[in-house]
């Protein structure tokens, strides 16, 4: 005798389909994620990106007035780019720290989106020896 289809299977199948539909809808409306790039990879990216690198040199300016200016270097490299940032500066921000900040390249300067600067915690976990 043929086995009768279980409502449970139907529910699971419909739910999985619904989840996939929602997911596809989201990705088609909102697009993919924000690319994460290093300073050496900025050329060719004209849209919004997450820039990741190490702060080098002494920052200048006022993050709550004209903007804080600092240079960001590839964590493992030598290419640098100037960043202008406005908004809250995390406590841990200082030369030598790795940071991630959103924004876009304009005339050779990376103009950051306000309040997107995230400083990587110097870590409870010791660096690799």
């Amino acid at each position: 005798m043929a086995r009768r289809g279980s409502p449970a299977r139907l529910v699971v199948a419909l739910s999985v389909a619904a989840v996939l539909a929602v997911f596809l809808l989201y990705t088609s409306i909102a697009g993919g994620g924000t690319p994460v790039v290093r300073p050496s990879q900025l050329d060719g990216h004209h849209g919004r990106v997450s820039l990741m690198g190490q702060v080098v040199g002494k920052p200048s300016g006022d993050a709550h007035a004209g903007g804080k200016r600092f240079r960001l270097r590839d964590v493992k490299g030598t290419t640098t780019v100037t960043v202008v940032y406005k908004g809250t500066v995390p406590d841990l921000f200082q030369p030598g720290r790795d940071i991630v900040v959103d924004g876009r390249l304009r005339n050779g300067v990376f103009v950051a989106v306000p309040n997107t600067l995230v400083t990587k915690c110097p870590s409870k976990y010791a660096p690799k020896r």
Binding site: S6, P7, A8, V11, V12, S15, V16, V19, V22, F23, Y26, A30, G32, G33, T34, P35, V36, V37, Q41, S50, M52, D62, A63, H64, A65, T88, V89, P90, D91, L92, D98, V100, V118, T119, K120, C121, P122, S123, K124, Y125, A126, P127, K128
Partner: protein
């Protein structure tokens, strides 16, 4: 002392290897004495891990900088309490805590079940020991907390954000949750290996699962509160990969806790439960992989470490082994009954399960998206808050609604007429609440109105359940209202404890919605004497005050808060400059309003040399309900966990019945 620590860990590793090998052989060949010996080895491993933990704790307390770990994570000026909590402030100590908790859980699980479920335990012991062996191996060969060096004059100190009382409780709670999920996983695998796939493994691990799930939930709420009061950005959850790492297994465990009820009541979803318990455990190990490997960008920044590859390999073994075992035992996992109607208690539990798992998997997708996008396109990309919020709303809001529907629907099959009667009052309350919210101007956030209306519906259905139960209990006679109420809970601890937990989730939803959808943010640069206004409150900056403590210099802005002409008090947001660590930390000031449950959150965003301040102020309505939810959650969990002699007798009968059927 370091030698004693190393020796303890090596002994632990050997004991656990013996428990894996001896236990497996004993289970395979049905050697009862050898199986007992393997159990004893597992219990003994807990003893030697305690010795290792005491050695490290003692070195931290004595500031023994000949221990590399102590020198890396403490300093002479670090207060003793933080020197001790540095035990889990670093990678090696965290792994040791993991092993300690795991061996503790394993010993307790063996001691409490060896008499009632000996046959079930036969394969469970090798699985528990196998997980323990991995961690002991890592501590002995890859990341030892007992590495020594020439003693330094002083240590590097502890990251300032970890110098917080929450450091004493938040990580241990999370570990108790993460590691606790090993117990149900081990029993599930033990049941599959021994072909004893009846409900006994679920019954035997119900409390362990509930305890691990409660610890994980409380641990996350404590972490959220820590971030709120200490990190100083005004939020409590940032969808950071490390935060998500704790949320994913909790969601999977929540789904599991609900679906096991269907297996217990109706004998359904047996494969699904195996999958869920495996998913919850693998996600907890995956969380550790995320935090240790540094493969994903996280504000918790875990530097690249050699542990990532080991953890990845371990996860692959666990996932492949579990899937193979479940597939091999599929014939034993056939359901005894079927879902009879899509409108029934078990169907709503199934919807709840699918939503919880969908939420966990979409979060997982967001976490691994940078890795996958880099592997496919060569360019890493991240998803951020809007992605997570979209799925939280898509899956979370229907979940909230189901929490109110599920408990009121009958098992097996419910008629629409009966549903209409059941939901009359909760629906009425929700409609009235929705209209009142719109009239009060809450319509500025559509998701806010929906979440609050659904919250009222769920709370009304919970209250209705308590009222109906109490009335029925009182009708039996002999007790007053209070007696009927307390006996109702005492006789159905799991059910009513669950309702209390549901109420805590509603409070959480109200708090999160208030603090995010209806938040007000203002920023202003103020000179002494100048003021700013936020949501009806006026804040006047009076100047700075500085003082020097043993390990830091503190600078505080003096801010007077007024509502109309009424003076509400002086608040002191500021910054601490730590000497040894050469770091600055934000110290926020919070004004709690007990009447509204809201907070006025003040951040000294920038202390300027000309004496002015950049003050950021957030008004967060109802945010304190989030912390109240934590207390209610603990209460509900304790009710559900509390030992119940009647239930123990029922379980004993079930054990006996299952053993006969085998």
């Amino acid at each position: 002392m370091a030698d004693l620590g190393r020796l303890s860990l090596v002994t632990c590793l050997l004991l656990l290897i013996y428990a894996v090998a001896g236990g497996s052989f004993a289970a395979w060949k049905r050697k009862r004495r050898l199986a007992q010996s393997a159990q004893n080895a597992l219990i003994a491993s807990f003893g030697v891990t305690i010795i290792a933990a005491v050695v490290l704790m003692s070195a931290l307390a004595r500031h023994d900088f000949s221990f590399q770990y102590v020198a890396d994570h403490t300093s002479r000026e670090l207060p003793l309490r933080y020197s001790l909590t540095a035990f889990w402030g670093g990678q090696e100590g965290s792994l040791l805590l993991w092993l300690l908790v795991l061996c503790g859980y394993a010993a307790a699980a063996v001691l409490t079940t060896r008499r009632v479920a000996r046959d079930l335990l036969a394969w469970t012991v090798p699985v528990l020991a196998f997980v323990g062996t991995f961690f002991a191996f890592m501590l002995v060969f890859v990341s030892s907390p007992f590495a020594t060096q020439r003693a330094l004059a002083d240590g590097a100190g502890l990251t300032p954000s970890l110098q917080n009382p929450y450091m004493a409780i938040h990580p241990p709670m999370l570990y108790l949750g993460y590691v606790g999920l090993t117990v149900p996983f081990a029993f599930a695998m033990g049941a599959l290996l021994s072909r004893r796939t009846d409900e006994r493994w679920i019954v035997a691990t119900r409390r362990w699962t509930l305890a691990a799930w409660a610890f994980l939930g409380v641990g996350q709420l404590l972490g959220a509160h820590w971030a709120y009061v200490e990190i100083g950005w005004g939020g409590f959850y940032a969808w950071d990969p490390v935060e998500n790492a704790a949320l994913m297994p909790w969601l999977a465990a929540t789904a599991y806790l609900h679906s096991v009820m269907i297996q217990e009541k109706r004998g359904m979803l047996r494969v699904w439960n195996m999958v869920l318990v495996t998913l919850a455990f693998c996600l907890s190990i995956f969380g550790t992989f995320l935090t240790r490997s540094g493969v994903v960008q996280s504000i918790h920044s875990f530097s690249q470490s050699p542990l990532g590859g080991w953890f990845l390999g371990f996860i692959c073994i666990l996932v492949a082994g579990s899937i193979l075992l479940i597939v091999a035992r599929l014939p034993l996992l056939r359901s005894k009954t079927r879902l009879e109607s899509l409108v029934s208690r078990e169907a709503t539990f199934l919807y709840n399960n699918l939503l919880l798992v969908a939420l966990a998997l979409t979060i997982l997708w967001g976490v691994v998206y940078p890795i996958l996008s880099e592997a496919v396109t060569g360019q890493a990309a991240t998803v951020s808050k809007p992605y997570y919020n979209f799925f939280l709303h898509t899956f979370g809001v229907p979940l909230l609604l189901l929490m109110g529907i599920g408990p009121l629907v009958a098992w097996r099959r419910a008629s629409l007429r009966a549903l209409g009667r059941t939901f009359l009052w909760p629906l009425g309350a929700a409609v009235v609440a929705g209209i009142a919210l719109l009239a009060a101007g809450a319509g500025s956030s559509r998701i806010g109105v929906i979440a609050y209306t659904f919250s009222v519906f769920v709370l009304a259905s919970i209250v209705l359940e308590f009222v109906r139960g109490t009335v029925a209990r009182r009708a039996l006679g002999g007790v007053g209202w209070a007696g009927a109420f307390s006996s109702l809970i005492a006789r159905n601890r799991r059910r009513y404890g669950g309702y209390v937990v549901h109420a805590s989730v509603v409070l959480l939803a109200i708090g999160v919605t208030g603090a995010s959808a209806y938040e007000t943010v203002r920023e202003s640069r103020l000179k002494p004497g100048q003021s700013m206004s936020v949501a009806g409150d006026r804040l006047v900056f009076r100047g700075y005050q500085a003082r020097t403590e043993s390990n830091h210099r503190a600078i505080r802005a003096l801010v007077d808060v007024y509502r109309g002409d009424k003076y509400l008090g002086r608040y002191r947001p500021g910054k601490n400059q730590y000497f040894a660590e050469d770091e600055v930390s934000n110290e926020v000031a919070i004004r709690h309003d007990p009447l509204t449950g809201g907070d006025l959150f003040m951040i000294a965003d920038q202390v300027n040399t000309n004496g002015s301040i950049d003050l950021k102020v957030l008004q967060k309505p109802l945010v304190n309900l989030l912390w109240l939810a934590g207390l209610v959650f603990v209460g509900g969990s304790l009710i559900a966990l509390w030992p119940d002699a009647r239930e123990e007798r029922r379980l004993a009968a079930r054990y006996a019945d299952a053993a006969v059927r085998i």
